[in-house]
C-alpha cells in the first residue's frame, strides 16, 4: 500500500534530513554550543544571556580572537531554543554534541535548565562553562565538566535576612514573609533564606509558593498587609519581579524592607520608579566594581560597551555580564591549554585564576566560582542602584509615599 511505503521512506528521511555535522573547529572558527531560552517563561533572561554571549564573542573576535598553537581562531556560538523546558534542553544538548559536533558548551538560562543539561555534557565529557545556573545542588553532584562563573543561589537573599536582623534589637522577634516561585532556582534561594532565618530564630509568617504562570499575587500581598511582617522576600525571575512591583504599588504594601531578585532584568526601576524606591536587589555584579581585565577593560567599560551595542538597557542586568564572563573564561582556558582538546581544555578551565570586569574567577573542585562575592543593592528614589555593603548603608524603613 502506498502509505506503508511512505512510512519507511519518511523514516529514512528522518535520518537524511539531519543537519550536516559542523566540525567543532571549522577552518579558523571555534564553535561553542548553547541551548538557550528564547521562548517560554525564561525568555526575558534567555535574551539577556544570549546578548551577553554575543557581545563577548564580538569583542574577543575584534581583538584578534583566540590564539591556540600560534594560530588565531574566531569564536562563534551555535544556538538552539530550548523553549524554557528542561526536557527539550537536554535533547538539544545531545544534539549539539552528537550531531553538530560541538565540544565546548555555554550554559543555558536558569538552574532548572542547567540541571537538565549538565548530566548530558558530563556524560560526553564536554566542558560547559555556565553563567546562569546558581542552584547549590548543581555543585553537589560531583560534575567534572561543569563550571559556573556566578555565586551560588543560597547567597542571593540571605544577606537580606542579615540586614533585617541587624536592624532589629531582637532578631528573634523579626517576622518574615516569603513568596517564592515554584521552580528549582527560587526553591534554592528560599533554602538559603530559611537557613539564615532558622539561625536567627526568626518567625516566618507567610510562606507562599507562586505558580509559574501567575500574573497576579494580590492574595499573598493582602496577607502581607494584614500580618505586617518586618521584611518581605520575593523570588520569581523577571516576571515575578515585575508582577510584585506592580502590585506592591497598587496595594500600597508598606513593609519596611522588601527584597527581591531580578530587579535589573525586569527593569523595575524604569517601569515602576515610584514603588521600586527602596527595594533591595541582590546582584552578581555591579558596574561600579573596581575590577578589570585586558579584554573588556573595567566593569564600567564593559557596561558602556554593552549599552552602546544594546541601547535599550538603562541598567544592564548582571545576567548579561556573567554571560560575557563565561565566554571570556573559554578564551583564557583555550590559550592556557594551548590546545583544542576538550580534556586538556577542561583541566585548563579548572585551573583558571583570573581577574575580569565581572570579578575574580576561580573554580572550586565542585565547579562553582569561589572568588567572587555577591552584592546587595538598593534602588534609590531617582531609579539608580546604590550599593549596600552593611545594614547601616540601607535606607530603612523603605521610604515610599504612595
Amino acid at each position: 500500500m502506498f502509505m506503508k511505503h511512505g512510512i519507511v521512506a519518511a523514516a529514512a528521511l528522518a535520518v537524511t534530513l539531519a543537519t550536516p555535522a559542523l566540525a567543532r573547529v571549522d577552518g579558523d572558527t571555534i564553535t561553542l554550543g548553547s541551548s538557550i531560552s528564547l521562548t517560554g517563561k525564561y525568555a526575558t533572561n534567555g535574551l539577556h544571556t544570549q546578548r551577553g554571549y554575543d557581545y563577548a564573542v564580538k569583542v574577543i573576535n575584534e581583538a584578534g580572537g583566540v590564539k591556540v598553537g600560534g594560530k588565531s581562531y574566531k569564536l562563534a556560538v551555535k544556538y538552539y531554543d530550548d523553549e524554557s523546558t528542561p526536557a527539550r534542553g537536554a535533547q538539544l544538548a545531545e544534539r549539539l554534541i552528537q550531531q553538530d559536533g560541538v565540544e565546548y558548551m555555554l550554559g543555558p538560562y536558569s538552574s532548572g535548565m542547567t540541571k537538565a543539561i549538565a548530566p548530558v555534557s558530563e556524560k560526553f565529557g564536554v566542558p560547559m562553562v555556565e553563567a546562569e545556573g546558581a542552584s547549590r545542588s548543581l555543585f553537589t553532584q560531583g560534575y567534572k565538566y561543569l563550571f559556573a562563573v556566578l555565586s551560588t543561589s543560597e547567597q542571593y537573599l540571605a544577606t537580606a535576612v542579615d540586614f533585617a536582623a541587624a536592624k532589629s534589637s531582637d532578631p528573634k522577634s523579626v517576622r518574615i514573609a516569603l513568596a517564592f516561585e515554584g521552580d528549582p532556582f527560587s526553591m534554592d534561594v528560599r533554602a538559603g533564606v530559611m537557613d539564615k532565618v532558622k539561625e536567627y530564630g526568626m518567625k516566618v509568617v507567610i510562606d507562599d509558593q507562586l505558580p509559574a504562570d501567575l500574573s497576579d499575587m494580590s492574595t499573598t500581598l493582602t496577607k502581607v498587609k494584614a500580618l505586617k511582617p518586618d521584611a518581605l522576600i520575593i523570588s520569581g525571575h523577571s516576571k515575578g519581579a515585575a508582577t510584585a512591583a506592580r502590585q506592591i504599588d497598587e496595594m500600597k504594601v508598606n513593609v519596611p524592607m522588601i527584597a527581591l531578585t531580578h530587579c535589573e532584568a525586569a527593569k523595575v526601576q524604569e517601569k515602576f520608579p515610584k514603588t521600586a524606591n527602596g527595594f533591595l536587589c541582590p546582584t552578581q555584579w555591579v558596574e561600579t566594581l573596581s575590577k578589570s581585565d585586558a579584554m573588556f577593560g573595567s566593569a564600567a567599560d564593559w557596561n558602556a560597551g554593552f549599552k552602546a551595542d544594546y541601547p535599550s538597557y538603562t541598567s544592564v542586568p548582571y545576567q548579561s555580564a556573567q554571560a560575557s564572563a563565561a565566554v571570556y573564561v573559554f578564551k583564557e582556558a583555550f590559550e592556557a591549554a594551548n590546545s583544542l582538546d576538550k580534556d586538556k581544555l577542561r583541566d585548563a578551565i579548572s585551573a583558571v585564576e583570573m581577574e575580569t570586569f565581572y570579578g575574580d574567577i576561580k573554580f572550586s573542585a565542585q565547579g562553582n566560582n569561589i572568588a567572587k562575592p555577591m552584592f546587595m543593592r538598593q534602588i534609590n528614589a531617582d531609579g539608580t542602584y546604590g550599593l549596600v555593603e552593611k545594614a547601616g548603608d540601607m535606607v530603612h524603613p523603605r521610604n515610599v509615599a504612595y
Partner: protein
C-alpha cells in the same frame, strides 16, 4: 492475522531502520528513540481518541505520573533513607547504586509506572465517561493541568525542585543504546497489541461506540467496559514510556513530566496528521511530524513555533482527513489499484467509503 507481502515489507523496512538506524548513525540514536516514543504516544492515543471517538487531551497525565512513580520506586527500593530524605536534601545526596540494583530498580519502576497509570485511568474512567465530545476533551485537559499543579506542591517528590534520577551505571554509548532499545521495544509491543486488538471484537465495538454510542449501547454492547479498556491501554503504555523518558532525561520536574502544551497536544496532532482511527495513520503522522519538527527546530531558530503553528493550521484546516485521507481523495486510482481491501484490518476502507 494474515499479512500481505506489502505489510510484511513495511515491517521489515521499519525493523531494519529500527535496528540499523542507530548503528549506522550513532549520533542520532536518541533522536530516533524520541521518534519511537512519539509513534507510541500517537498510536496509543488513537485507541481511545481515533477508534472510539473520545478525544482525550489528558493522556500526558499518565506519562508524568509514571515518571514520578518510577522515580519513587527506583530510589526507595535501594536507598535506605527513602524518597523523602533524598528529595529534601535537594540533590546533595547521591546514592551509589550497583548495576544490578539500578536495573532491578528500573525494571520495577517501569512496571509500577505502567500499573499505576492503568489504575489511575480506571479512577478517571469512573467520573469522566459521562462526558462527550468537547466536554471530555476539556475535562481531560483539566485533569492533566490539575495533576501537574498538585504534583509541585508535594514535597515528598521534590515539589518544585524536581528529582535527579539515579545515574546510569555504564558508558554513554551503552546508555543511549539501552534506552533506545527500551523505546523501540515498547513501541513494537504496543503496536502489535493494538493491531491484534483492533482485529478482535474490541475494534468493532470501539468503532460502533465512535459512530453512535447510543445505538451501540442499545444493541447490548457493554460500552463502559470497552471505554475503560480503551483508556487503560494507553494509560499503561504512557506510564511505562514516561518512566523510560524520565530516566533518559536524568532530571525530572513538573515541566519534564507534564509537557501539556507540547507532547500532550503533539500526540493528538500527530494522530490527526496521519489520519486518526487507523492503525498506520498515527505511525505515519508521528514520523512526519517528528521530521518536520526536528528540521524546523534546526533550520528556523526563533521561528520554529510559528512554523509549527502554521503546519498545524494548514494540516487541520486543509487536510482534515489526515495525509492518508487526503491521498485517498486526491489519487483514488492509486489506492484503487494498490489496495487489496480484503487484507487490511484497519479502518482505511471505511474512511474511503465515507
Amino acid at each position: 492475522m494474515s499479512m500481505t507481502n506489502r505489510t510484511m515489507m513495511t515491517y521489515a523496512g521499519l525493523a531494519l531502520f529500527g535496528i540499523f538506524g542507530p548503528i549506522l548513525f550513532p549520533q542520532y540514536t536518541l533522536t530516533i528513540a524520541y521518534l519511537w516514543m512519539m509513534v507510541l504516544m500517537a498510536s496509543t492515543w488513537d485507541t481511545l481518541g481515533g477508534q472510539m471517538g473520545y478525544n482525550s487531551l489528558g493522556n500526558i497525565t499518565f506519562f508524568g505520573v509514571g515518571m514520578y512513580v518510577s522515580a519513587i520506586v527506583q530510589i526507595s527500593f535501594f536507598y535506605e533513607g527513602g524518597v523523602g530524605e533524598y528529595t529534601s536534601a535537594m540533590g546533595s545526596i547521591k546514592p551509589e547504586f550497583t548495576a544490578a540494583e539500578y536495573f532491578w530498580g528500573l525494571g520495577l519502576g517501569i512496571l509500577a509506572a505502567g500499573i499505576v497509570g492503568l489504575l489511575l485511568s480506571l479512577v478517571f474512567s469512573s467520573f469522566m465517561f459521562g462526558l462527550r465530545g468537547p466536554y471530555f476533551a476539556i475535562g481531560s485537559l483539566g485533569l492533566a493541568i490539575a495533576v501537574a499543579e498538585i504534583t509541585i506542591t508535594i514535597n515528598y517528590v521534590g515539589g518544585a525542585s524536581g528529582i535527579s534520577m539515579p545515574l546510569f551505571p555504564g558508558d554513554i554509548e551503552f546508555r543511549s543504546t539501552f534506552f533506545y532499545m527500551l523505546c523501540f521495544a515498547f513501541t513494537i509491543v504496543s503496536h502489535f497489541l493494538l493491531r491484534w486488538l483492533y482485529s478482535t471484537q474490541f475494534g468493532l465495538a470501539a468503532n460502533a461506540i465512535r459512530d453512535d454510542e447510543d445505538k451501540a449501547e442499545a444493541m447490548g454492547i457493554p460500552t463502559l467496559a470497552y471505554k475503560r479498556i480503551g483508556w487503560a491501554i494507553p494509560a499503561f503504555f504512557m506510564g511505562c514510556i514516561g518512566a523510560v523518558a524520565g530516566n533518559m532525561a536524568g532530571f525530572i520536574d513538573k515541566e519534564v513530566a507534564y509537557p501539556i502544551p507540547t507532547f500532550g497536544i503533539f500526540m493528538v496532532a500527530m494522530a490527526l496528521l496521519g489520519g486518526k482511527g487507523t492503525l498506520w495513520g498515527p505511525v505515519l503522522g508521528a514520523i512526519i511530524f517528528h521530521v518536520v519538527k526536528e528540521a524546523t527546530w534546526t533550520y528556523l531558530l526563533n521561528l520554529q513555533w510559528v512554523a509549527l503553528g502554521l503546519i498545524l493550521i494548514v494540516n487541520i484546516v486543509y487536510f482534515q482527513q489526515g495525509i492518508m485521507g487526503w491521498l485517498q481523495t486526491k489519487y483514488p486510482e492509486l489506492f484503487g489499484i494498490v489496495v487489496d481491501t480484503s487484507n487490511i484490518a484497519d479502518g482505511d476502507e471505511k474512511e474511503a467509503a465515507r
